[in-house]
Amino acid sequence: MAYIPHTDADRTAMLAAIGVESLDALFDAVPEAERFPRLNLPSKSSEMETLWELQALANANASAHDCAMFLGAGAYNHYIPSVVNHILMRGEFYTAYTPYQPEMSQGTLQAIFEWQSMISVLTGMEAANASHYDGATSLAEAVTVAIAQSRGKRRKIILSPNVNPQYRAVARTYHQGSGARFVGDKSGRATLEDLIDMLDETTAMLVVQYPNFLGQIEDFTGLAKKVHDAGAMLCVVTNPMMLALFKSPGELGADIVVGEGQSLGIPLSFGGPYVGFFATKQEYVRKTAGRIVGETQDAEGRRAYVMTLRPREQDIRREKASSNICTNQGLMALAACVYLSVVGKQGLRRVAELCYHKAHYAAEKMAQLPGYSVNTTLPFFQEFVVTCPRPVKDINTVLFEDHNIIGGYDLSKDYPDRANQMLVALTETNTKAEIDDLVYGLAQAARG
C-alpha cells in the first residue's frame, strides 16, 4: 500500500516472529473501546490523480506567476535563481534531519555554518544561530534573551509601533506567561523620541525596525547609546535584502538583530516555510536559543563542524531551557545560504539597488496621480505608503479584477487611523510596464 513495502509473505513471517496472529493483535494495550475507530477520509488516490487534484487547487489561486505583485509587508516576491531549488531538491539535504551525528551530517553542518557567517556579515553582528521559525518568533526569542540578560530584573520591552504588527503580536503571545511587559506601540503613533523617553531601569530591551513596517528608514543615530545608557539592549528587526545596500544594524550599535530571511531565495508560498534569523554579539551567544554550529576538528585533525553549546537546549536542559525550540527551519536556511552564495557580493547589492530604484520610480509616478499622495518624508528602501482616495480594499478589488494586479497592503487592518493607506512593495521582479500598469490602474480605481 502506497509507501508500505510489505508483501503478504513479509507480513506473515514477521507476525510469526513476533508471535501474534494479526496486525491488529499488536495493539492489545490500547483501550478496547476506542481501538480501531472508523476514519472518515476519502479513499486512496493514485499519484496521477492526486497531482491533478492539487493542480486544480493551485490553479484556483491568483499568484505572482500570473499577476503583477505589489504586496509586501513582510514577505517579498523576489526572483529565485534556479540553482537554489536544484540544490534544495537534493535528497541528501532534504531527507536528513537535525545533524545530531556530525560524522554523517557534515554537509548540513557546514552549510549552516556558512549561513551563520553570512547572516553575521549582513547584520554586522559577531554570531548568528542556525535559524528560528520566522522573523516574528526570532523577535520573541530576543525578548527572552533580554530578560534573561538582566537575570529577570528587567521585564519591560519597548516596542516601536513601526515594528511589523504581526511580530509584535507574536512577541506578546510568546510572553503571556513570562512576565514581560510590552509598551510603546499602543497608540500606533509613538515617535522614536517617545520611545526613548520610556527607557528606565526596568527596561530590558527596546525594539525598532529597519526599514520600519512602513518601508521607512528611520534615523537611529545615537539610539544605541541612549538604550545602553539606560542599561537596556537594543534589538533591530531588519530585512536582509536592505542590508545589501544600507548600513548594518551592527554599525548602528544593535545588540540583537532579528528578521525574516524569506527575501533571500525563499518562495512566498503563502507565508511559509520561511526562516527567522537571529544575530547577536558573541557575549550573548550562550543566552540565545536554538541550534548553533561551531567549527572543530575530528580525531585526525580534519576540520569539522558540529552543533555546539548544546547544554542550552531543551533536550538537555529541559524545564530550565530558555526556549523549547527543537526542529527549526534548516532547509530554508540552506536555501538562503545558496541564494547569498550565488547572487553574491555584487549581485545582492544589485538586486537591492533595483528594489530601491523601482520603488522610487513607482513612488514618483504615484505622487503625480490626482487623489493619491505618497509619504516620502523619510528615506525608504522598497516599500512606501500611498494614501488613496478610497479604501484600499476597494482599490485592490479594481486592480485585481480589471488589471490583473495584486495591490499593496491595507494598513488600516493594523493601524485604524491609517484608513485609505496602502503599503506598496517593489522588487526587482516588477517591470516598468507592470509599474506603469499599476499607476494606470490606480488612476482608474480612484474614480470608484
Binding site: M1, A2, Y3, P5, A13, I18, L23, F27, F36, L39, L41, K44, S46, Q55, A56, L57, N61, S63, H65, A75, G91, E92, F93, Y94, P99, E103, M104, S105, G107, Q110, A111, E114, M118, G124, A130, Q166, V170, Y174, L268, S269, F270, G271, G294, A299, E300, G301, V306, Q314, E319, N324, C326, L331, L334, C337, V342, L348, R350, H357, K393, K432
Partner: protein, 499 residues
C-alpha cells in the same frame, strides 16, 4: 565517491568554505537584471561600505553544495531509524505539488477571494487532521512540534485563567518525556513536576495521584510514550487529571503509532499537537521546516491560535464551492508566528493523506508497529531491552554489555555508521541507561530490518571481540569522531571578521 584527496594541502579540509572559493570581483552576471526604470540617487550617508559575501561562479556554487550534500546521510541514502523522529520515506510527488506556481507564488496577505484554492486545501487538511485525531478544532499555525506544544499549553493556560484558575501553576510531565515538554511548560510560565515511571515503563500512578490536586493545570504525556510503549493505564491517568480539574495534553510526535488505531480525542485528551514532518512525511530538511498543528476539544476551540481557515459562506448547492476565509478564534491565545503556518508542509500533508486514503492511513501505524516489534523480538537475545513488551512504533534498547563496561551506546552508534546505517537516537529517553531508541517506520522493508538485525548482532560480537573497532568508529565517514568539547571551547561560529 569519496571526496577526500591525497593532496596533502587539502588533506585537513574535506570541502572548502564557500568563502574560500571564488575570487575577488567574481559574480554571476545572469543574476543581475538590467534596470528598466530611471535610477534614483542613493542616500549616500546611509549606504554601507563593504559587503563581505562570497564572490563565486554558479559552477563554484553547484559543486560546493553538491559536494557538501554528499557528506550527508539521509533517508534517500539508507536506513535512518532515529527514534522519536519518524524518518519515513518522503514521497517525491510531495515536493512537486508544494512547488506548483499556484502554491509557491502566492502571498500570505492576498485577499481571501484570490486564494480560494489554498484556503480550501488548508481547510481540508484541518478537517482530515481533526478526523484522524478525534478533535473538532485545529490550528495549522505552529511551525513545528515544539510550537504546537506551546500553542496547546497556552490554550490550557488561557482556559484556566478564564475560569479563575490562577493557582493552577503546575504541569505534570513523566520523566520519560521529550525535552520540549518541560521546556514548553516553563516557557508558558508553569512549574514542571516530573513524574516517575514504574518498572513497566508506565507512569507511576501513585506518584500521579499524589500530585493531582487543584494546583494542576494539566499533564503532558506522549502516546505511545518515548519508551515506545502504550501506557496500560492511559484512561485512568486521564481520569485522574480530569478529576482534579486539569487538562490532558497529548504530545502527538508519536502519532505514527496511532493512525487508525485510536483517536486521542476519543480517549479523553483535551489538546494534542501533530508533527507533520514526522507522521505525514513532510521532509525533515536537515532540521526543519516542520509543522506542528494543534488540535483541541470543542470546549477549547475558541482559544486556538489564529487565524485558522473557516467557511465564511457555505456552498449553495452540490456543484458550488463554499467561500473560505480567515477566522480568528474569539478568545485566541494569539498568533504564534507571522502569517498562517508552514503552508508548504500543509500542501505536502494534503498530498500524502490523499494518496493514502483511509485504507493507507489505516495501514501506516499497523506496519510501523509491526516493524518495531519485529526488531524488538530479534534484538532481544543480544541487547538488553528494558521494557520488553509489545511496543509501539519504536523500541528502546540498552547499548551496553555487562562484560565490556567501556562500550557505550555512542560507540555502537558510531560503529553503525561503518555499515552505512544511521544510528538510532542516543541517550534518550533519559531514564534508560545507554538508551538507543530505534524507530524503523513503516516504509522500511523486511530485508532492511533483517540487515539491521544482522549488523546489530555483528556489532555486539565486535564489542566483545574487538572493542577498539567500536571505540575508533566511524571509519568510513567523511570525518571521524568530532571533538565537541573543542567546538564549545573555541566557539568559532562565523568564518568572517565582523567589523
Amino acid at each position: 565517491m569519496e571526496t577526500t584527496t591525497t593532496d596533502t594541502n587539502d588533506a585537513k579540509i574535506i570541502e572548502p568554505l564557500i568563502y574560500d572559493l571564488g575570487a575577488p570581483g567574481r559574480y554571476v552576471s545572469t543574476l543581475m537584471p538590467q534596470c528598466d526604470v530611471p535610477e534614483s540617487d542613493l542616500p549616500t550617508d546611509l549606504i554601507r561600505g563593504d559587503l563581505d559575501l562570497p564572490e563565486v561562479s554558479e559552477l563554484d556554487v553547484v559543486r560546493h553544495f553538491v559536494n557538501l550534500s554528499q557528506l550527508n546521510y539521509a533517508i534517500d541514502k539508507g536506513f535512518y531509524p532515529l527514534g522519536s523522529c519518524t524518518m519515513k520515506y518522503n514521497p517525491k510527488i510531495d515536493e512537486d505539488t508544494a512547488r506548483l506556481p499556484g502554491f509557491a507564488q502566492i502571498h500570505p496577505l492576498q485577499d481571501a477571494n484570490t486564494v480560494q484554492g489554498a484556503l480550501a486545501l488548508m481547510y481540508t487538511v484541518q478537517q482530515w487532521l481533526c478526523e484522524i485525531a478525534g478533535f473538532p478544532a485545529i490550528s495549522l499555525q505552529p511551525a513545528a512540534g515544539a510550537q504546537g506544544e506551546f500553542a496547546g499549553i497556552l490554550v490550557i493556560r488561557a482556559y484556566h485563567q478564564d475560569r479563575g484558575g490562577i493557582k493552577r501553576t503546575k504541569i505534570l510531565v513523566p520523566n520519560s518525556a521529550h525535552g520540549t515538554n518541560p521546556a514548553t511548560s516553563t516557557m508558558a510560565g508553569f512549574t514542571v513536576v516530573e513524574l516517575p515511571s514504574n518498572a513497566d515503563g508506565d507512569v507511576d500512578l501513585d506518584a500521579l495521584r499524589r500530585e493531582a490536586d487543584d494546583t494542576v493545570a494539566g499533564m503532558m504525556i506522549t502516546v505511545p510514550s518515548t519508551l515506545g510503549i502504550f501506557d496500560k493505564n492511559i484512561k485512568e491517568i486521564i481520569e485522574i487529571i480530569h478529576g482534579c480539574g486539569g487538562l490532558m495534553y497529548m504530545d502527538g510526535a508519536n502519532m505514527n503509532a496511532l493512525l487508525g488505531v485510536v483517536k486521542p480525542g476519543e480517549l479523553g485528551f483535551d489538546v494534542m499537537h501533530y508533527n507533520l514532518h514526522k507522521t505525514f512525511s513532510t521532509p525533515h530538511g536537515g532540521g526543519g521546516p516542520g509543522s506542528g498543528p494543534c488540535a483541541v476539544t470543542a470546549e477549547l476551540a475558541d482559544y486556538l491560535p489564529g487565524p485558522i481557515v473557516g467557511i465564511v459562506e457555505p456552498a449553495k448547492d452540490e456543484n458550488d464551492s463554499p467561500l473560505y476565509g480567515w477566522i480568528t478564534p474569539s478568545r485566541s491565545v494569539g498568533r504564534l508566528k507571522a502569517f498562517h503556518g508552514n503552508f508548504g508542509m500543509h500542501v505536502r500533508a494534503y498530498t500524502y493523506i490523499r494518496l493514502h486514503g483511509y485504507e493507507g492511513i489505516n495501514a501506516i501505524s499497523r506496519h510501523a508497529v509491526l516493524n518495531a516489534n519485529y526488531l524488538r523480538v530479534n534484538l532481544a537475545s543480544t541487547y538488553k531491552i528494558p521494557y520488553n513488551r509489545m511496543c509501539g512504533h519504536e523500541v528502546v534498547i540498552e547499548g551496553h554489555f555487562e562484560n565490556v563496561p567501556d562500550i557505550h551506546a555512542l560507540d555502537i552508534s558510531k560503529r553503525l555508521m561503518d555499515y552505512n546505517i544511521h544510528p538510532p537516537t542516543n541517550y534518550f529517553p533519559l531514564i534508560v541507561p545507554e538508551a538507543l531508541l530505534i524507530e524503523p517506520t513503516e516504509s522500511e522493508s523486511k530485508e532492511t530490518l533483517d540487515r539491521f538485525i544482522d549488523v546489530m548482532k555483528t556489532i555486539a560480537t565486535e564489542a566483545h571481540e574487538q572493542p577498539d573497532l567500536l571505540h575508533s568508529a566511524p571509519h568510513i565517514t567523511p570525518v571521524g569522531r568530532v571533538d565537541e568539547v573543542l567546538a564549545a571551547k573555541q566557539l568559532v561560529l562565523c568564518c568572517r571578521p565582523i567589523a
